[in-house]
Symmetry: C2
Subunit: 231 residues, 2 copies
DNA sequence: TTTGGAGTATGATAAATATCATATCGCTTA
DNA sequence: TAAGCGATATGATATTTATCATACTCCAAA
């Protein structure tokens, strides 16, 4: 983890979340003064479950994974955070310590705002609070939707689900560099590494995707989509 | 659904949530004037997914289930709401329509407070907003914890998990009346009805539980607990 | 009282998936 | 350059679980 030399001015941050629209000049400058801006490399871990929650994280660029690590064999990935997400927002108001671990999947850049600063904003600015509730609500919806969609699918559908979401929601393109290993895909959807590999090979043989090293090209998005709903 | 004849006065409600501690006399009386108090019988459905969200629900007594009903064969139970829970809190700030359906499992009694009233409280009272965030956070934690614990277990562990949670968290007793059918237990944890029955029979044969009609007695809580962590 | 249906129960079988074994590829490090 | 390691790949086998079939029980409606 490395602090950025020339941090962005929050007042004119191009990535500024709608969350901060409700803040006045004074409040925003408080955020600006209480934040750090940081970059990390792929694989670096920024939070270990059990760590004290000190900062509120706003992801500017790159991808992070939230995961459990009770047992390395059974590591499970809870969700992937994307640019403009508030990472780990879910439990900063109910816990003092992080419940999940976080690692950088790609190069990432994010802001760290002190939790107390955020809590003060909530207390003093109802509109901000409501935006935060909304934001949290959306994050939860997303995790629950994935969780319950996946539960009704078997392995082909599950692997298809990951590939389809990466293509449509994360990268917005039929061709992209797979940021996850086969093992990590398996940890996201509850399928063994070998079977993730097998299923991806089948998709390749069936002409649904093309695999070139780390690059994935979705050749038949519609077939992939159908797999995510019918299994 | 039947309105209660003599609704409780919010100002002296014995079940009043900590959420409302931060409200002044005036705000609380606003809640009181904008609420209905309602009872329902087991099996009655109070929300169908897709319905407009009009009220904020506070469960006074009984149990409710939140579930998806895309396909009756694949109905999944998301969570069980308990007394003092804010039911369906998760998406009232991000959606205009309910995402999940809700039914009464037992006889239930709850308050319905207009959503606009709650939103106003959030806007005007930062402490209330923060309590709400905390409440929501806890609800989410619970759902996620269950979801990810269950995923690492296979069927014996999953069934044990439900029985153990009912015993320790919902009823706080080793003997209780099972409020769910075997089918519903299966829909909670992703196991077929037949296998739920089979596993419960095995637990009975192994002396872990005793089954007397709808009554379940947990004879060996520790063995049940071990099953929920080691599978 | 009978009857039908849903819930519970148990065995047999089929399907899905994990696990084990082995091989290859690409990359880093000695 | 070689050695070693982790990721990918594929086949064979074992395990887990769903599904199908068949009873039995209990309760509510005819």
């Amino acid at each position: 983890m490395k602090s950025v030399d020339t941090p962005t001015n929050c007042m004119q941050c191009p990535l500024r979340s709608s969350l901060f629209e409700s803040l006045g000049r004074k409040e925003l400058s408080c955020v600006h003064l209480n934040k750090r801006e940081v970059v990390m490399e792929p694989g670096e871990q920024l939070v270990r479950s059990g760590d004290k929650i000190t900062h509120f994280l706003y992801l500017q660029s790159g991808l992070l994974k939230l995961f459990t690590e009770s047992d390395s064999r059974r590591e499970q990935i809870i969700s992937i955070s994307r640019p403009r997400d508030f990472v780990g927002l879910l439990n900063i108001f109910s816990d003092t310590h992080h419940r999940y671990s976080m690692s950088a999947i790609t190069d990432v850049r994010f802001c760290m705002i002190e939790v107390d600063c955020i809590k003060q904003l909530v207390d003093n600015n109802g509109f901000f609070a409501r935006e935060l509730l909304k934001n949290m609500s959306i994050a939860v919806d997303h995790i629950l939707k994935d969780s319950y969609n996946l539960r009704s699918l078997q392995m082909h559908g599950r692997v298809a689900y990951v590939l389809y979401e990466l293509s449509t929601e994360i990268f917005g393109s039929t061709g992209f560099e797979l940021p996850l290993s086969r093992k990590e895909v398996g940890q996201m959807v509850g399928v063994s590494t070998e079977n993730v590999i097998r299923v991806m090979s089948e998709f390749r043989q069936d002409g649904i995707i093309r695999i070139e090293g780390k690059k994935i090209y979705v050749l038949e998005p519609e077939r992939l989509r159908l797999l995510t709903i019918r299994g």
